[in-house]
Symmetry: C2
Subunit: 249 residues, 2 copies
């Protein structure tokens, strides 16, 4: 049986998604829990390999199990023996050809910025703190340049384990709202694409932050996209502001 | 100079507001920081003594300092030498007769409940998890009984360090909304009164939870208010769902 699992995690205390020796990871935690249920080692595939500190509100994974279990029981069994900072919100029996990563045709990420002079005790784990007032119009203007099919060399890790750095960004919005808990302005950058390179959203967020502070402008971002020169791009924004919010199938 | 400080804190790692030997408290942390700035011991008064685990989104405190400091500098100085789980959001010079506790004529608390089968990794510190679907209409009906001036003996700690247990509840609402981060239904009980007894909001929340689960009803709550019998009241709801959201002056 092929199972599809949807999950949330607080990435703060994880060394990211991908299993590795000597570090607590979400894939590692899930593999341990599912192997215990199966009685032998299983292989868990995730839709996206989130980095250390990055959160997920609806990460998707798939796993093949020899026994047929009711999805609700499987969900409860996993939640019963993993850390409280990761929760399976839904388990379903998936078609045999479903694969969390290869069946996905896109993802949406959200980058959150707490934009007040003071840092928020409630958002310290989930939003990057920017004390200077951000100009949202400048961020939106710069953000529009990201829409479409581009080579994202300037906005990704220098590692070369991918065939192409071309990705199609289908949506990008810069929104703001008052925090529900405590006071304060929360700026949210939501971006959807058919795929993302490593550090791509955080590089985009860093560039938009620089535009919002008036330290960079649309022209610089345009040149970076065209030339692929990383030197033109502002610092990568920190991991804890980032959340994987949806995987599109 | 009399200063008025507004602050937020994540109560998770505090033994409540009130200073005590051998436990980290918000008043203790503030006193240490302000005494360092003053050069001698100062006395910090808070508007309300929140219990261990209870959060604050706008707690108010007052302190007298011998030197005149710019409020912004004072705010920055305190934030620079206290834990990141407490933040001064505003400092102001207050009239000489201002007292955080005695000048207050009311407070508003919010009790949050994450109401899904699964627990949320993002709300584990800030909302009580109730896996059974709550009937909000039943909670609202029961909640209406709390409005007005009543003797809250059945809904407070048995400790008798108060002259009267009569308090006037001016507002109570039971709202719901979708969580911004992650999915899920968040139920919020907001209650305002001219003053609160110890455990009063958490007792009210426990009673409303029981009503929402169909285990108690308006009649039982009515009898508890009238008789003052604690035995009629459901278990006190856990501290981490509670936040002090406003102090009224």
């Amino acid at each position: 049986m092929n199972y599809r699992l949807t999950m949330q995690y607080d990435g703060t205390d994880f060394h990211g998604w991908q299993m590795q020796a000597g570090g607590r990871t979400v894939q590692g935690e899930l593999t341990r829990s599912l192997s215990l249920i199966e009685g032998s080692e299983v292989v868990v595939h995730g839709a996206g390999r989130t980095d250390a500190g990055v959160h997920a509100e609806a990460q998707v994974a798939c796993v093949r199990m020899s026994r047929e279990l009711s999805p609700d029981k499987l969900r409860a069994a996993i939640n019963g023996n993993i850390g409280r900072d990761v929760r399976i919100t839904e388990a379903e029996i998936a078609p045999d050809d479903f694969h969390a990563r290869f069946s996905a045709h896109g993802k949406t990420y959200c980058y959150r910025i707490f934009n007040e002079r003071f840092a928020s005790p409630f958002w310290a784990r989930y939003a990057h703190h920017e004390p200077r007032a951000l100009n949202l119009e400048a961020m939106r203007e710069a953000g529009r340049l990201f829409i479409g099919e581009h080579d994202w060399t300037a906005f990704s890790s220098a590692q070369t384990d991918v065939r192409t750095r071309v990705r199609n960004v289908t949506e990008l919005s810069v929104g703001e709202r008052l925090c529900e808990r405590g006071r304060g302005r929360l700026v949210e950058i939501r971006v959807s694409a058919d795929g993302f390179l490593r550090y791509m959203v955080r590089s985009m967020a860093g560039a938009l932050l620089a535009a919002g502070r008036g330290e960079s402008d649309a022209r610089t971002i345009e040149r970076a996209i065209e030339s692929g020169e990383r030197i033109l791009v502002a610092a990568t924004a920190p991991a804890h502001g980032l959340s994987l919010v949806e995987v599109h199938y």
